[in-house]
């Protein structure tokens, strides 16, 4: 399990890193925590000429709280979120999600920016950030742009990142009052990639809930029929199951009967947990 040879560079600024990553005719990859990229290089499912180490760029480590949002720099580790070393405006949701990603030794190095940039369909942060209506800031050769997570992740391992683009971090809006949330996932083994992830959130008493399902298709999706049903105050299991079935048909029609049952179970668990909170 040894990676094929590559060159290594550790640029001192984001601008320098962007130039290196955008070099024409060279297969490049940015490395932050490396907890996904290094296995991929070892297994040789990723082949690169140049590895650009962005793990020490201070501009990507900024964590700030404004009155109406929190900014998490791309290099924020899962462990930092798990331990509450970043501002928790979400009533513990992000800490809870972080603590169940892989294993502690991986969480010590794996970053939220790396997770979203890789866009693994079964990863936790894309689901969570989608449920929290977060936006991502990307810097590249054409300057800086801000996109919603829903627009940024376009498919399985696919994002709008172009050559030379670097994820700077995430702007996550603060809920109006204490966030009510539920989180459920199914994995064959704790720490393994999930087969189903569901997150339900309500920003305040009067606002419409958000329900997100991940690990069920190329990318996480919001389940509008289910959220609408809960928003109407309808809580009977029968109506919720009907709405969930409609959402699964809309976004994840190719899942088999077992998978649909499993997704319905995680969604229901997340919704019930949110309602009980």
């Amino acid at each position: 399990m040894k990676a094929a040879p590559f060159e290594y560079a550790r640029p001192k600024t984001v601008a320098e890193a962007s130039v290196l990553l955008g070099r024409k005719g060279v297969n490049t990859a940015a490395i932050a925590g490396g907890q996904s990229l290094l296995p991929m290089l070892g297994l040789r499912v990723a082949l690169i000429d140049l590895l650009v180490d962005i793990s020490r760029l201070e501009d990507l480590k900024v964590v700030t709280r404004t009155p109406d949002s929190v900014w998490l720099g791309a290099l924020t580790t899962h462990a930092a979120i798990e331990d509450g070393r970043t501002p928790d405006l979400f009533n513990g949701l992000m800490r809870h999600v972080a603590g169940q990603i892989s294993y502690r030794a991986v969480r010590n190095h794996g970053t939220i920016g790396g997770s979203v940039a890789l866009a693994d369909p079964a990863a936790d942060w894309p689901c969570c950030l989608l449920a929290l209506n977060a936006s991502v800031r990307v810097v590249g050769r054409n300057g800086v742009r801000v996109e919603s997570i829903a627009d940024f992740i376009t498919g399985q391992y696919e994002t709008t990142l172009a050559a030379g683009d670097i994820v700077m971090g995430f702007d996550i809006p603060a809920p109006a009052s204490a966030l009510r949330w539920g989180f459920a996932k199914v994995a064959r083994k704790s720490g393994a990639f999930a087969h189903s992830i569901a997150i339900a959130t309500t920003q305040s008493r009067n606002s419409r809930p958000t329900v997100v399902l991940g690990a069920a298709g190329p990318r996480a999706r919001k389940l509008d029929a289910t959220a609408g049903m809960i928003g109407l105050g309808e809580t009977s299991e029968e109506s919720l199951r009907a709405a969930i079935a409609a959402d699964l048909e809309t976004h994840f029609a190719d899942q088999d009967a077992y998978q649909k049952r499993m997704h319905a179970a995680t969604i229901l668990r997340a919704v019930r947990e949110m309602q009980a909170r």
Binding site: L38, N108, H109
Partner: protein
């Protein structure tokens, strides 16, 4: 080749490394420290766990080049660590190893668990240890040893931290 200086078990080592060389290969092949075992080499088994800048780390998922200027402790460097001394005794008394291949990673991870959580219970230890694989399946005694070491180090009361393992909720509804 990339020039690195890594502080390994308190001693600064400077060398030129191939960019693709992992920290695990660096400590084993360049430095001859073979307590760090390589099982899967892709982050699944935990046998290669070391301490990097104070954090439990899979050394197969770090490049030596990225560890330039950083501090690494392998099991060899934790010989006189107070937590490790207690753990070692409880591993011995509980017969917490069979073939011994996973043991270095188990010990380094166990030390990390006991430094973060005081006196963890059986359930918490099992969750925290879920990234370490023992192919002899000798988990029962390993867990027992870590719980006992935690009790001794904290002098009694068990940690009440809620357990958060998504796989141990109620069975799936039909």
């Amino acid at each position: 080749m990339t020039a690195v200086t890594i502080e390994l078990n308190g001693v600064k080592i400077s060398d030129n490394v191939e960019p693709r060389q992992t920290l695990a290969d660096f400590v084993r092949d360049r430095c001859g420290l073979t307590a760090t075992h390589l099982g899967c080499e892709h982050g699944a088994c935990g046998a290669c766990t070391v301490v990097l800048d104070g954090m439990a780390t899979r050394s197969c998922l770090q490049l030596a080049a990225m560890c330039d200027g950083r501090s690494v402790f392998t099991l060899e460097g934790l010989r006189t660590d107070p937590t490790m001394e207690v753990l070692r005794r409880h591993f011995h008394e509980n017969h917490a190893l069979q073939c011994g291949f996973c043991t270095p990673g188990m010990l380094v991870m166990a030390r990390d668990i006991l430094q973060r959580l005081s006196c963890p219970d059986d359930r918490t230890v099992r969750h925290e240890l879920s990234g370490q694989i023992c192919r002899c399946t000798g988990y029962a005694n390993i867990v027992k040893a870590i719980v006992a070491a935690g009790r001794e180090l904290s002098g009694g009361t068990e940690d009440a931290r809620p357990h958060t393992d998504g796989n141990e909720t109620a069975p799936l509804p039909a």
